[in-house]
């Protein structure tokens, strides 16, 4: 062996070794969880940066800006997609970029445990004390530690939208059942369902309400329970029940408008939007169950360290005030946590009678629906991985 060959051999070995070390070093930034060099918390005085569900946003923030003297920078996020939301907060550090984060109530509980949520100083919120205790201490909101972590923004009892005339069915408040959506020959291939894990929870609620499966809490199923719910939904999917699974609000509206469905699990604002286009669609009142949910908003722990905390509280208090509650009740059909202030606002601002009636009807509607059987969905099931896995199985079936 010549010296040259020898040297080349050694260097090759050295190179391989170095390449191995280099690979590990290269990968390091990606496997260090905290994320190197993430931008440090920055405040932007005079502007509130809020992340939340698209239906939280108003079409026009002028009233907010007038009342608070602050600018609103709203970034919509599909908060129903709980995994994506956790990812955004825990991995992508949303708290660094936002002053207020809106989630489905219940989702914040693990975030509180992980120290992502700033404890509320309720003395800085004028409108907070007047919120009913049944709301403040509802199972999705209360963490059981006698502390307040987030404010309830609004709530509703969800069902599905349908075309009463085309189906020959009565209008609300006359009650229907979920069979129309999930288990009906008449709507075979003309029904649409959520494309996220809420579909599985609804499957679980249906099975539980019919006594078809032993499920403790459909909003927080175990791996075995969610598999049962998924099996049943797959059966219905294979029977051709579902025309499509939607992922976004726009799709819900489009499915109604384009005549793809006769009945669709959807958000109440979608029905409002379709009605606004002149279509005869209604949001069902159900006798078997409703899907109760609440939206809540918290201050991320990073924001509490910023110097615009007073502005953040001012903005948060505005969301609990009358103008937001009134606006949202008319715009989306949702019920704010201070509807008393909402009604007062509408009257004092001299809103037209029809809008005031809509707000009054909204209060009655929610009271009626909440007195029917219902299941709360708290957003985040404990076994998130099982829910996501089963959802993938459902979609693939």
């Amino acid at each position: 062996m010549t010296e040259r060959q020898d040297r080349s051999k050694i260097s090759r070995r050295t190179v391989l070794k170095r390449a191995g070390a280099a690979t590990a070093a290269l990968a390091l930034p990606y496997i260090v969880p905290e994320g190197i060099g993430r931008a440090k918390a920055q405040s932007s005085p005079g502007t509130i940066r809020m992340m939340g569900g698209p239906t939280v946003a108003l079409e026009d923030w002028a009233q907010f800006e007038k009342d608070t003297g602050l600018k609103m920078e709203f970034v919509p996020f599909n908060v129903d997609d709980v995994g994506a939301l956790y990812n955004e907060i825990l991995i992508n550090g949303a708290g660094e970029r936002f002053d207020l984060i809106n989630t489905l109530a219940g989702v914040q509980k693990p975030l509180v445990q992980q120290g992502q949520v700033a404890q509320l100083d309720t003395s800085k919120l004028q409108n907070y004390a007047g919120i009913a205790d049944s709301v403040k201490r509802s199972p999705v909101l209360y963490t059981g530690d006698d502390k307040d972590w987030c404010v309830p923004l609004y709530y509703n009892a969800d069902s599905f939208g349908y075309f009463p005339e085309k189906l020959g069915l009565p209008r609300p408040p006359e009650a229907l059942t979920w069979d129309l959506l999930l288990n009906s020959e008449e709507t075979l291939g003309k029904a649409a369902l959520d494309g996220d894990m809420i579909a599985l929870m609804i499957g679980g609620m249906y099975l539980k309400s019919r006594g078809l499966a032993d499920i403790a809490d459909p909003g927080n199923m175990t791996a075995d329970e969610v598999a049962l719910a998924t099996d049943w939904l797959i059966e219905r999917k294979k029977a051709g029940q579902f025309r499509t699974l939607w992922k976004t609000y726009d799709e819900q509206v489009a499915n109604f408008v384009n005549g793809e469905v006769l009945v669709q699990r959807c958000w109440e604002p979608a029905v409002k939007a379709v009605q606004a286009q002149g279509l005869d669609v209604e949001y069902a009142t159900c006798s078997d169950f409703h899907v109760n949910w609440m939206h809540s908003t918290f201050i991320p722990v990073q924001a509490a360290e910023r110097n615009n905390l007073d502005e953040i509280y001012r903005a948060l208090d505005w969301f609990l005030g009358g103008s937001y509650a009134a606006e949202l009740a008319v715009l989306r059909g949702y019920t704010g946590s201070r509807m008393d202030l909402g009604l007062e606002h509408a009257r004092s601002e001299g809103w037209p009678d029809e809008k005031i009636e809509a707000i009054e009807a909204n209060i009655v509607k929610v009271e009626t629906k909440f007195s029917n059987p219902n299941f709360w969905i708290g957003g985040a099931p404990d076994d998130l991985a099982a829910h996501d896995r089963e959802m993938a199985r459902f979609r693939n079936a």
Binding site: A27, Y30, N87, L193, E260, L384, R395, N396
Partner: protein
């Protein structure tokens, strides 16, 4: 022959540009560094993460193949195979549509202006977001859409054809548009570089149009065709727009699986699935290369037979 010509050109340009060699080398080093940082590092990290053990949101630094076992469950295998099949079929369709189009664009149009206009027109749709471009298909393919209305009014069908939308058919159709330019461009460049004299010579020697296409144009366009296949197929593997908006929850493709796994914060699983995909892509590229080399040899052989 063309290879020799290209080499000569390269040599000439190299001699002419000698004073700028250091600049070129600098550029090469810069591009390589960017490539290592931007492309190679993340891919290597993918492989490393895929064999780590997940521990909450962090990793336990011990090696395991658990992530691969978690990911490779029955329905996920189905999704991988379906994705590979859909991508293969659509890429082939793109080639069948794009190849004649690229030849026409490169050799059929004489006016430089017309050529530029068509190239720009190819790009214009991409100013729209992919979702906006794709969702348009819904009002064309839907139960109450353009095609169904047409079919109903002509009396070809009594009830709307429902498989037009929210089906594999719709996903295939939705994928064709966005990836058409990535097939056309590389082939267009390759064909443009073919000397017109060669084509003329082929016709002078009595070859039919098809013979010229098969024995002259295609062999010389092979680099562009290979690039077209890769540029089209690889990004398409990661497309989640068409399957989400047009699949109606029936056509699960692999991109959605990534979304699912990342959403469930199963990062090792997502990395494992990514690693499998990278290996599948490299294997496919190697197979294509092998086939082409094989074809090339056969072609060479045939050319020899023809000339003798």
């Amino acid at each position: 022959m063309s290879v020799i010509v290209l080499d000569k050109d390269a040599a000439v340009s190299h001699l002419q540009r000698r004073p700028r060699v250091s600049l070129e080398r600098g550029a090469i080093i810069l591009v390589t560094a960017l490539w290592v940082l931007g492309a190679l590092m993340p891919i290597l990290a993918l492989f490393v993460i895929s064999v780590l053990r997940a521990k909450g949101l962090s990793f336990d630094f011990s090696l395991t193949l658990q992530a691969y076992r978690d990911v490779l469950v029955d329905f996920r295998l189905e999704i991988i195979l379906r994705t590979l099949r859909v991508v293969a079929v659509v890429t082939l369709i793109e080639f069948l549509l794009g190849y004649p189009f690229a030849i026409w664009l490169a050799k059929g149009i004489r006016s430089g202006l017309a050529k530029s206009i068509i190239l720009v027109l190819l790009v214009v749709p991409f100013f729209l977001s992919p979702a906006a471009r794709t969702i348009v298909w819904r009002s064309i393919l839907g139960n109450d859409g353009l095609i169904n209305n047409l079919l109903l009014s002509v009396g070809l069908v009594d009830t709307p054809v429902s498989w037009l939308l929210f089906s594999e058919f719709a996903v295939h159709l939705g994928l064709i548009g966005p990836y058409f330019p990535s097939m056309v461009w590389p082939i267009f460049i390759s064909v443009s570089l073919i000397d017109d004299e060669l084509i003329k010579a082929s016709r002078d020697l009595g070859a039919t149009g098809l013979q010229t296409l098969w024995y002259v144009v295609t062999p010389l366009a092979v680099p562009g065709i290979v690039a077209g296949f890769l540029f089209t197929a690889i990004p398409m593997l990661g497309d989640n727009v068409a399957s989400t908006l047009l699949g109606g929850g029936r056509v699960a493709l692999i991109a959605e699986s990534f979304d699912d796994l990342i959403r469930a914060m199963n990062f090792t699983g997502a990395a494992a699935l990514g690693a499998i995909l990278v290996v599948a892509v490299i294997a496919t590229a190697l197979i294509i290369r092998w086939v082409l080399v094989h074809l090339d040899r056969n072609n060479g052989h045939r050319l020899k037979v023809m000339s003798s």
